[in-house]
Amino acid sequence: MSAATGAPAPAPAPGAAPGAAASAPGLVATVVRLKLSLLRNGLRQSSGRRAAYVASAVLTLLFAALLLLGLIALRGHAHAVSLVVLLVTVFGLGWAVMPLFFPSGDETLDPTRLVMLPLRPLPLVRALLVASLVGIGPLLTLLMLAGSVVSVAHGAAAWTVGVFAVALALLVCVALARAVAAANIRLLSSRKGRDLAVLSGLVIAVGVQLVNFGVQRLGTSGLGELDPTAAVLRWLPPASAVGAVDSVSDGHYGVAAAQLAVSAAALALLVTAWARSMTRLMTSPDGSTLQAAEPSAQKRRGRAGPAARLLPGGRTGTVMERSLRYVWRDPKTKAAWVTSLAIGLIVPVFNALQGTGSVYFACFAAGMLGIQMYNQFGQDTSAFWMVAMTISSTRDAYDELRARALALLLITLPYATSVTVLTTALLGDWAKLPEVLGLSLALLGAMLATGAWTSARFPYSIPQEGYKNVAPGQAGLAWIAVFGGMVSAALLCAPVIAVTVWLNVSEGGDAWTWLLLPAGAVYGAGVTLLGLRLAAPRTAARLPEILTAVSKG
């Protein structure tokens, strides 16, 4: 098979295949229109979703404007280029990783949907690449790149190269995202591959950590610290395009040409790789048929194991058992959990190992795992109807939500405690252990409470096919649910945080900080129960609406 596709993919000269492919500009316009109408349809379904989308667009634009202003202000700074090159690299990384997690509304760009059309890969790639440039993300990147050029360009030649560099870097970013996404679809179309995709969570976890360390370095020793890193990054696409602008400003035309060539080569390479994946996707049987042929790996799924028998009876135990099974068996749920578990461990422990950490970072574990309470019903997909059919009262809804929270606690409590103890041990700060544990518990409680509530109020679909975690048009809703929820959770924790601070700064308060452990535990439990109580009637009253919301995609 690789021999067949490895043979030079015949680059179809325009007109070489009469009638097979629509003329390129026509195809580009069609795909762009298709993307816009899919986006519009996604938004038309509810005004809440529209509001959420507009809000997230406004926030992004605001951020873009600030970024632009900051970059312009940087103009003339001695180390400006170092920062700019790093920024472009981070954006490039973001583009590479984002499609794995939040490829909002890019249904046109899912080539598997276009398999049936008589299209050649190359014209299609061109059309999809242009369509990818439509959206908030590309706009943000465009503004960032423009700002970067402004901050390093000096002289007419540099400005001219700058315009070219912006276009090139933007295309590299978009092509990177598409190439990764296409490769990922192929990975995800087998059950094995889907389970492997769990690793992408670790990529994010490590990436966050690297950025974290980088920022800490900067904070201690200024922008000059970046120069050695930047010396390397200015040769890496897409940052090398912006690096070229700086080289021109300094009069190093040869270096600039080489840097531009590196980015251009990367673009060519990415587009080729993308076209390859697409050809293979369009010619090989799709995942659903492969799956049926796949030998069943799990031969015996026995009766409830010994562990399951320890669960309580009735609805509580039944729901807990199902939730826990899904953590292990459902690739999307599993990926989310592995990501949370990894970040929750890496952040506090790496920081502690670096000697820069604080025991309080251990709260990260509780916070990351608490996120799993969000969008509970979205995790069910449209199978939520089976739950909806058995919820006929607020009491049922309460039991359902409580059981899900309990399943989560079964993993989270021991895990967060272990991470906290480990971090404390690494830092040797045993006196702080009780208060950090107390804070963790309070935070966990607040996350469970807000998670239960937003699950009922802002449910959204998690498409099971492909690599997406949000259905088209629901991305804004998802962000608002999760971030709104996390901010509220932080606010809910405020009393415990306030007491912690107060005990730490007041004279002789240290003697009483152990009290924060029981206080945090009681507070967390109380807030959770309150959250469940408030979420239950909403869930019971909104069953059809929740089902509709989680059945998209």
Binding site: A292, S296, R329, S382, T390, S392, P544
Partner: protein
Amino acid sequence: MTSVRVRNLWKRFGQQVAVAGIDLDLPSGKFIGLVGPNGAGKTTTLSMVTGLLRPDQGSVEVVGHDVWRDPVEVKARIGVLPEGLRLFERLSGRELLSYSGRLRGLPGAEVDKRATQLLDVLDLAGAQHKLVVDYSTGMRKKIGLAAALLHNPEVLFLDEPFEGVDPVSAQIIRGVLERYTASGATVVFSSHVMELVESLCDWVAVMAAGRIRAQGTLEEVRGAAPSLQRAFLELVGAQGRDTGSDLDWLGGAGR
């Protein structure tokens, strides 16, 4: 006695009126077919009747209780097999039955006993430990039917239960449903296949473009027409539409 009573039920999706003010009185203890072409509004109607979709207007009573005001009474008495919605597919067939039975509050031992019998009758015993995600369409319909029957409901709603099902599975499903109605329970199922409805049902409701065009016993609806298919075409005024003249290029030597 009526098992399902629907009054002035409406549902719009944007501009599109999916269900346009229908009235239905479905007798109990009968094998009832809701028949109509694709897009007639069958799925939308059944979703609203079973409480999975909120109507814009109108009332639904099942076994004498309002579906929206009295869900406690209704949900325990009905079984549902929707179309186009997933099951919990990462559970094995047996686990799915066990989950759904316990969720409905049946005692564990009873659930296990009934699940074993249902799996045997539906010829799923061999696949009971396979994940539902690996099931074929026919197996999915059968496991969905088992889950809907597990709590022995009074009224069973099935949306296109035979769609995409192989003949052997279809025969098995048919046998189970016939045995179930013989015990006095009501089955309401939707289909766009007239022959199927004609051979299975003793009572039919004909739906087209969001409205009920006729309802009654099979004989009443069929009237003088030789088959339900013909009666339906007469009802929607589509009989005798000649497709020959428009597609004269299709086939033949014109290639």
